[in-house]
Subunit: 481 residues, 4 copies
């Protein structure tokens, strides 16, 4: 067949190149699993030598590079089949085609490759929460002034902030596991869409490929693309969600209180102090890419027939991996930044002391211990803030006399200092979820417990898949579950 | 304060209108829960009368319309507070402000309203799977010719297709429950972001509002917007995913074998046969809207500081409900279409009989029982297809002689008819996930079991929330958990 | 007809409400123009009284509120027609329906309303460039240190930056005019899609509605939705493009050197220095909303038949106006911020003097006048930067001796000070596009010329439309062009 | 410098690979233009030999493959510079760095590569309109039944439809030219952002690279990314807009009246009639990819500082070309499908004759010539439609007696046949934009005129660029404009 140059140049050639680059092993895994499933059919009894040759032939392909495109051969699978036929003969090869369709074979290869990519992202996302909790651990007492509306708002600790960020990542872990569970089902055996009339043992096939189970409906197996929409959702949710953390880290680096490791910044040969936090910027763009690339998956799945396998098949797989790779890269860059970061706690402390962000706490204190009503307390605190600002003094340096002068009760110097101290502000917020050191430590512990559980879930899947791979890729035909 | 007309006209006025329309009850719920939490503070002992007045005042607000905007009052909450102050006096009101910030109050109201919308969508999505399974139940033996690449591909049954579609919806159920679990946590008590120095019992507050638990970190509680990204993901995943089902139903309606109920079509007064399946089209556009509107949530959360509460707060809530309403509407329209649909099984059967989509099965049969190798069988089947096409006869009408004439073995007339019959094609596919009636029936049963479990999960959440509402909205202050 | 409650509640009711709120006048304009076109048909001769009654009846509708929904009446147009029939009788009304279809009538109303919204956005975008150029004019000599990678990079002027931002807006003006030109064509007379067999004068109709011309193909007129994609592109291009300007202004406000007017900030009653630049944040979210809402238009138009009028018709109009309103709001807020902003030039100057961003210029100067090769010059400048940093002195305070000590040639004190002065750095960049005051002034002038041309284009369209409206909405039937 | 493996693996390595693959020539062009601009500086007088060596060295690079990554060399440009230095020595190389920054060099290379891609898309879009108009030319009399709401609606001609589709493409041409004009300006000479203190002749540089003009503000030159948003808008507008045309062509292919060329379909070896119109499906997915990939550009530009050059620089260029390549591929595939398509006019005619879509025209005719009022005419036509349907006859076969029997006037057989004939229906619609053959022919002519103008515009740009390339890439330093 001589296809039109547009079809060859725009479809067949790039598809072949992509499959050779990213799907070759997945195809061999799927074909091997199918061949071993076929070998267990009643019809295969008495044909052991052909089936053994087939298995060996497939195994040998693993030692060869993916076949190159050639004229008249539409794609990688046909090229592979052709090479295989040369090696093992048509009789052995014929068994491979029994009960197999491009639809289920392709979808299986796509799902295998996506599962691998997704697990990689899942592990990186685990590393991110770990890095955040580790950094939090070291900064349970590092007071920062949190901003809202880009203005100093309230004292809290760096750890409190990092635990919040880690909690978002913890929910991303839920999302990743949900997507993984939905993806981790085997399409193979669905044939074109209606399954085969041969009694293929789909549970065996699924186990051979390390899947949780076969897809429960064969039409669903080849036609559904919602696993791609799950990946799109992850690309967008993680990408956009983490962009906010990156934004804050960039601001901290620009501010100077967060310093990236030397091997993660770009300097200026002439201005040695210049430390462009480019790695954070690149993380930001990777997350933006993940969020944007997600729309390729959305459009490809939109308003197309359920049975149309191109839109959710070959034509969208590159986009699937664009999303996964962008997340993977963004997470790797971000973890590297956090792991090598140093925090200038002195600068943070000096800055905290200079703000008047404890004014509300003073008012609360006047209610609590000074016998004021809330409105009175508010008025007095406001007056004190103004007085100090007018004298260009920090609020923290106000004296009991100043307070009395503003109409307030007389507090002891200690009580007043305490009411105005950012660290005391923090210490006093010891309820569920608050920034007081003990409260944050318990949040960190909870985070670590959740993370351990997450790691267990990811590891369990990985171990199941690894075990399957060892059998599948090993010499010797295996036809037992 | 006289704000700038741009600020009033573009921000304050529309925000007030939206809050009055969609958030008033949520605000009252949150404020009541907070007031009752305050009433349990040690500091509140001895102030029962003020706190009782506050509770009663809040309850009375439920009987009034939301306050109208007025000059100098920035938003609904301040207007509500002002009205309340007039009614109960500043002393009682002061207790409401204790330990409360706009940040946690607003976020709680937003989450409450979103939770309600999400539960509504969740119930509709349950109704959709039910409608699909019910229709499948009735069409386990209705043979259709599935298409791939917009061409007849293989026989299967309508039920097999519908179960596949229902399986996608089943995965949507997982997604909905995941999003609900992540959303169903109470921000209240987080104050501006660091919690309060008063020992507010956040677990009590959470229970009072029917939440699963308090958000475990107060910074997370007010700053995180990833619950919106979950809704965005649902808008996109369900919207795009279901667009494919709608596409097929529209095609079926256009083809004529699916007929919508009369109260769901638009006709032409002059061409009475014209039955525009507009309700399906409107479902399509609602799903497209959900998918598109999701991007408003994505952009609002993108590259903004974690602490910036406007982007994930007031400014994005209308978009949150655009997504939820679009899903709700699309699902309601789609369920209505399925519930009232009639299927023209005769037309489907006639069409199935006219195709040559069983040719591959004939080849398989020749391998299985005719002693042919796969390549031979394929050649013979191809020849028979051509022969019949050249004679303008259907493949199903081929005779044993025709088969022999094409180089095939002699099958009995019954065996040949069976090999070429779409119904037999289907019946023979009885493996896991296949279209054979018994196989599909077991898939339907599995679907119903999953659905029952899903309904239970949704009902449990709903019951918890309803119980909380009864206490919260009832007369009489309740300060016990 | 009793429609299904889902259809009534999810489609008919909201569509009626939207049309009554946003499209009523457009419908009356379109109907009036059609009625006057019909009145010029040969077939209408001798029926002047009916046609006069029709015209008067339509005019009277303008004095009434839009009709309310009623059972059995599907939408605003039918309700309007019914009310009109009651008033003028069926004979007069029948003329209105001649050659008219819902397809062309609806599309015309949609285009009219969108054109009005687009012109509003166009005028605001004009005001934005003007505000930027005016502010630039006042800051041609205000030196700032431009940042790249969130680090101080090079001296330039505030005006240079603002002119760059204004240039982006200038390209947005091109985009707006392009979209306007493509939109500004009249669909009316296209009937269902094939035009009418009556010789309706579509050029007359188009002129009556103030359009540039009729759409040149009637199928195109009712079926194309690419004008919506133009609006989507604007929502995204302006929304995302302007987000970068807003980002910088927020950073400047947070930094303190840009101060918004008092009526555009939210303060804290207790911390009077707190000036949350919320209006900028709200501008940011409006632009994000515009960019996100654009996707509703994209999805609605995606993979749907060209002839399907719901997807690009009623079902997407609310989204059209969400995009336009968000742009309009964002622009209005942004212009208000710029118009009321004050710049703290002293702070900027102090900050500029403290950086070492002129180091590269020193190197260039050493090449130019000091007889150094480029690599030598670079080495010397680097050494001087380090020396000053080690001594905690600013680079600008280096002396000729310091330079010699670093291996450099002896410059005069003036020459060295000049080489190290941010202002001189700027002054020296006087080439095309550079920041030197004269260069920027000429850029401002060019910007003002382009802006004047843009205003002329917008005003011309507006004037044409206004003139048409005056005729169209005036008493007395007008049947002349 | 030993960078972090994450930074090397995720940023430097892929950036190098991409630049080597897609930007190498653009870099050489930009560097050559810069070197020749430098050679014209007063400071360069007397250094002719160094500058000649530089020019020759750059020219020689064109004969070599792009340099490979090596440890310690961050990217392609540095690797190129290093290789160049080895060849021509540091003195010659130093001239290249004079007044040059990575910011303006990179942006110039990006714009050059994007301009080339955009012109390629522009030419393909020209070919698309041409193919549509050519096919229209051949089918001015081919009657089709246009559908609305997926139901037969009205007769028109294939040409009328195709001209409508071509009109959308014509508006895409406007969009392409607008984007091209905005893009076609030279950033070089902007240096880091403030231009150089050397009097570089930016107009010369711009002309040397075939640009229309230099960017008028140097900050704008390096910082603005709105040209990417223009490409995003094109990706979305063309991608989504053309998806509707593809949708209709797929439906036509599925219906069987449009037949793609043999070299554009995939068949089934066993079912020879199966002609999967996969090329159209692949066009559909390319357009979906273009629309989705556009969001990568949108997110990368969103909420980032104007001065941040990574987000709109290296990190987004791959996405720029994903959008352009997807459009290019989709257009090429679509044009191939149209060019090789055959239309089964007989099938269309038979189908047209079988519908009752001329019923409205009969009513109009009864008004026009039968002396009926519009409501009467409508009633009679409805009755006739029903009568024929009840008798299972086509509407077209109704007789004058039938009409009288339905209460209508007696028409002659000819007049009735004419009123009911789809072809006559079409012929009668001869107004502006209608489907009557003469009207469509004049639309085709207008389309061809617009297309010729468009081609002229594209060719003029291409010629200017080609001429510049010839000078730029030719041996011998050219320093004249």
């Amino acid at each position: 067949m001589n296809w039109h140059p547009a079809y060859t140049g725009r479809v067949l050639a790039p598809d072949h190149a992509f499959a050779a680059d990213r799907l070759y092993e997945a195809f061999l895994d799927a074909l091997t699993a199918h061949a071993r499933t076929v070998a267990r059919l009643p019809a295969a009894q008495g044909h052991e030598s052909e089936l053994t040759a087939l298995d060996a032939g497939l195994r040998r392909q693993r030692t060869l590079p993916a076949p190159r495109p050639e004229p008249g051969v539409p794609d990688l699978y046909f090229a592979l089949q052709k090479r295989l036929e040369t090696e093992i003969g048509p009789e052995s090869l014929a068994w491979l085609r029994l009960g197999l369709s491009r639809n289920d074979l392709d979808m299986t290869a796509y799902v295998l490759a996506a599962r691998e990519g997704l697990l990689r992202v899942a592990r990186r996302a685990g590393a991110l929460r770990e890095a955040l909790l580790d950094l939090a651990d070291a900064h349970v007492e590092t007071v920062i002034i949190a901003t809202t509306h880009h203005q100093p708002a309230q004292p809290t600790t760096l750890a409190h902030y990092l635990v919040a960020a880690a909690a978002v990542v913890g929910r991303d872990h839920d999302r990743l596991l949900g997507a993984l569970a939905r993806l981790d089902r085997c399409p193979l055996g669905a044939a074109a869409l209606a399954g085969s009339s041969h009694p293929l043992d789909r549970a065996f096939t699924a186990a051979a490929l390390g899947f949780r189970e076969p897809v429960a409906n064969t039409y669903d197996a080849v036609a559904a693309g919602d696993w791609q929409l799950d990946l799109a959702a992850l690309g967008q949710t993680l990408g956009v969600g983490l962009s906010r953390l990156v934004h804050d880290l960039v601001a901290a680096a620009s501010d100077g209180w967060l310093r990236l490791a030397d091997d993660l910044v770009q300097g200026s040969s002439i201005m040695p102090q210049k430390r462009n936090p480019v790695t954070l910027e690149h993380a930001r763009t990777r997350f933006g890419r993940a969020a944007g690339a997600a729309q390729m998956l959305a459009f490809s799945n939109h308003n197309v027939p359920f049975g149309d396998v191109n839109d959710v098949g070959p034509d969208v797989q590159e986009a699937v991996h664009t999303v996964l790779d962008a997340l993977d890269a963004g997470l790797e860059l971000l973890v590297a930044c956090l792991r090598g970061a140093t925090i200038d706690a002195d600068r943070l402390a000096a800055r905290a002391a200079a703000t008047d962000t404890t004014a509300t706490e003073l008012a609360d204190e006047l209610v609590r211990t000074g016998g004021c009503t809330f409105p009175e307390a508010h008025r007095i605190a406001t007056a004190l803030v103004r007085l100090q600002a007018d004298r260009s003094r920090t609020l923290a340096s106000a004296t009991p006399d100043d307070l009395v002068g503003c109409g307030g009760p007389r507090l002891t110097a200690e009580a007043l200092a305490d009411a105005l101290s950012p660290a005391a502000f923090v210490a006093r917020r010891s309820g569920i979820g608050g920034p007081a050191p003990a409260a944050v430590r318990s949040q960190i512990e909870r985070g670590r417990r959740e993370l351990a559980e997450y790691h267990r879930a990811v590891d369990t899947s990985t171990a199941r898949i690894d075990a399957a791979h060892r059998k599948l890729r090993a010499p010797g035909k295996d036809t037992t579950t």
